[in-house]
């Protein structure tokens, strides 16, 4: 039997979540293998050397006529020495003539004097001060609480935890965390702005089939960390971000992470997804809106660590990235339709015709027959379905 592998999004009540936490540049891992870490524990750090700024002190102080004594540069003109810290616009050298005129030279940056270059001799004709800005510190945290499974020397560490793991279809916004709170309108209704109160401050809010622009703005105002919704209208997303979202997301600074579990539009959250989120209401959830469809697929995620599972049992769990061996869709499989005209419909596979079928659009495709939850029998292209795993 010919088969098409139709991958689905992961929705697991319990699996082994492994997160490789890497620095973007070489640095130092700060944790040990087997160590238990909290989500905010810094697991690796790198220092990027600051930039060097060269100040031509001689020129700045206008030593143009080295004839009179007042115009001869002397080391005493320098007010700072090697190793001294300086602030931006702080005077680092000056010249006084007959006690009346004063010319000064300031530092263009905050930093530390790294070197002073003055030629040997009684009448130097140049003086350069080299100032190094403070190093840039890059840190990467654990993101999820768990155990250090592996140390990546110079890069970071792999953190493992037993958790419920749910992938969304599309998201925006960076990694964040908060306790799960299920809104009354979930899973089928639209979460309105008026329903978003102060009680959602610091929370990951589970909404229904969609959220409005006002809801997103209100969520930011009350300090909610994230919203997980079945869908969201593109217009609301554009209004919220001020532009159309990019194809690779996760770096938006909109003050909120948003995950659409099903896609764009008004789409009720898949029952299994909602059931899982409701089950863990009140628990800490770690979410990331990053989505990427090209050059390696990245889907937004919701991770709820399972404090009730012993670390030793981790090894027996299926990793979250492991979907098992690819298999074709089979009779009896639960599928979701992911394209119009039945986008979002759920059903059971009741037929797998072998021959190509001509669709209404006249496109020829392999199809499957689905009996929906409402009892309708639909014929849809296999490529337009995803298996609910």
């Amino acid at each position: 039997m010919s088969q098409i592998y139709v991958p689905g999004l992961r929705r697991e009540e319990l699996c082994l979540v492994r997160k490789a936490r890497r620095l973007p540049v070489k640095g130092r891992a700060l944790v040990e293998r087997g160590e238990r870490v909290s989500h905010d524990r810094v697991v690796a750090r790198a220092e990027i050397e600051g930039a060097e700024f060269v100040v031509d002190v001689y020129d700045e102080l206008h030593f143009l006529m080295p004839v009179l004594d007042q115009y001869i540069f002397q080391r005493s003109n320098l007010l700072k020495d090697v190793g001294d810290a300086v602030e931006r616009d702080e005077v680092i050298a000056e010249r006084r003539a007959w006690g009346l005129f004063r010319t000064s030279c300031t530092s263009p940056v905050k930093g530390r004097i790294e070197r002073i270059d003055i030629p040997e001799g009684p009448r130097p004709t140049s003086a350069l001060m080299r100032i190094r800005t403070p190093p840039v510190i890059l840190e990467v945290d654990a993101y999820i609480p768990g155990v250090v499974a592996e140390v990546l020397p110079g890069e970071g560490a792999v953190i493992e935890t037993a958790a419920a793991f749910i992938q969304g279809t599309f998201g925006i916004g960076p990694e964040t965390s908060g306790r799960l709170a299920v809104a009354p309108s979930a899973p089928g209704g639209v979460l309105r702005a008026a329903e978003v109160g102060e009680e959602y401050a610091g929370k990951v809010v589970v909404a229904g089939s969609s959220v409005e622009l006002g809801t997103l703005r209100r969520a930011v105002a009350v300090g909610a960390r994230a919203i997980v919704s079945g869908g969201v209208e593109e217009g609301a997303l554009v209004g919220f971000l001020g532009e159309r979202p990019a194809i690779i997301t996760g770096r938006e600074e909109a003050g909120l992470t948003l995950i659409a579990t099903e896609g764009l539009g008004r789409l009720a959250m898949l029952e299994k997804t909602f059931r899982l989120l409701r089950k863990f209401e009140g628990e800490m959830a770690f979410v990331n809106g990053a989505t990427q469809m090209r050059a390696g697929v990245v889907r937004p995620e919701i991770i709820v660590p399972r404090g009730d599972i012993d670390v030793a049992e981790h090894r027996l769990l299926r990793p979250e990235g492991d979907k098992g061996l690819p298999r074709g869709v089979d009779l009896g499989d639960r599928v979701r339709i992911i394209r119009e005209p039945h986008f979002g419909a759920m059903g059971t596979v009741v037929g797998l015709p072998q021959a190509l079928r001509t669709l209404e659009s006249e496109v020829e495709a392999m199809v499957l027959e689905v009996e929906t939850e409402e009892g309708f029998r639909l014929t849809v292209p296999r490529a337009n379905t995803e298996v609910i795993e």
């Binding site: 593109e234 896609g263 469809m293 209404e360 659009s361 496109v363 292209p381």
Partner: protein
């Protein structure tokens, strides 16, 4: 491969590779080869990027049915997040084809910017571009009336259910002028043949001509500002075997004359004053055209081509054009007229 086509026929060629992630436009014009890559415009992974470049109205202007902008944008974004899905309905297919027109148009726009004379270069009449600001940069050296071939490749064009669909997409996005032959890749094998041609040029060209190149036909354009429903000109000619035909061409209309691949027909076109069919406005043209899977396409919609802004009028016009080319199966949903073309499924 486009280059090989130009070398083989010694003619000017414009080509497009409309992929899932990128859009490449090629021109081989008077022996000068230029390729440009629009790395963010495509029909699956990058389909939403097309929408990021333009207003949604640029896409709806190609749709012969009413659609809410929100629903259209949602649908295009969902295609990007599920890039391997395929259009099941006619409306969905038409939306993809509308986006394709805009992706090619944007790619062509970029190409034309680069296909321009070097500023500061010395020509016979003086310094090219001297004293021009960026907005007054010299126009492209590509004259659409001089383009002999327009070719398309890529999954969407190759897998379009009807050849008339890809012909129409190429015409709407390139907006050829004069007499232009249209061709497309049969099953999206052109990129592979291009690689083979670097080691076995003759074999690649043979496969290309026999199995890859699908001749869609010839487009005869009535260019210029067109008065809708007023006569744009008159057409006379002989089909193979000497069978005569003639027609009055209405401004704003399209017409298809079936002519099989390999067949030729003689055309005598008498445009009305101000209308250009390839020589100069109002001047008569006599030519021999080649057939193809679609045949001879008479395009009297004028140039530049812009579907009507009024929704009702736009839907009517688009349905007329699609029907003239029998481009799509019967539609049976809200806002679409019952008959778009024959042979549709119910």
């Amino acid at each position: 491969m486009f280059r090989r086509v130009a070398e083989r026929f010694r003619e000017n060629v414009l080509g497009v590779g409309l992929g899932g992630a990128t859009t490449n436009v090629y021109s081989i014009y008077r022996g000068k080869y230029l390729a440009t890559l629009s790395a963010n415009l495509g029909m699956s992974y990058s389909i939403y990027n097309v929408l990021r470049e333009i207003e949604a109205g640029r896409i709806t202007r190609w749709l012969p049915f009413r659609v809410e902008e929100e629903a259209l944008c949602n649908s295009i974004h969902n295609k990007a997040t599920h890039p391997t899905t395929i259009p099941q309905t006619i409306e969905d297919l038409l939306i993809e084809h509308a986006v394709a027109r805009e992706a090619i148009r944007l790619g062509l726009q970029e190409h034309m910017t680069l296909a321009s004379p070097l500023r500061g270069a010395v020509s016979e009449t003086g310094l090219i571009g001297a004293g021009f600001t960026a907005s007054e940069a010299p126009a492209s050296y590509i004259d659409m009336k001089e383009v002999d071939w327009i070719c398309g490749t890529g999954g969407l064009l190759s897998h379009a259910p009807r050849r008339a669909q890809s012909a129409l997409i190429l015409i709407d996005s390139f907006q050829p002028e004069g007499v232009t032959k249209l061709a497309q890749d049969s099953i999206f094998m052109m990129p592979h043949l291009g690689v083979i041609s670097t080691v076995h040029p003759d074999a690649a060209l043979e496969i290309f001509e026999r199995d890859c190149l699908v001749r869609l036909g010839t487009c005869v354009t009535f260019a210029g500002a067109m008065d809708e429903d007023r006569e744009a000109g008159r057409l006379e000619g002989e089909l193979p075997g000497g069978e005569p035909f003639d027609a009055d061409i209405r401004g704003g209309a399209m017409m298809r004359i079936p002519l099989d691949p390999g067949d030729r027909a003689t055309l005598r076109i008498e445009p009305r004053k101000g209308v250009d069919v390839g020589k100069e406005p109002g001047r008569r043209l006599e030519t021999v055209v080649e057939g193809g899977e679609v045949g001879i396409i008479i395009d009297a919609r004028g140039r530049p081509l812009e579907p009507p802004g009024d929704e009702e009028e736009r839907i009517g016009r688009l349905l007329d054009w699609l029907q003239a080319l029998e481009a799509y199966p019967r539609g049976h949903r809200d806002g679409m007229r019952d008959a778009v073309g024959p042979g549709g499924t119910e």
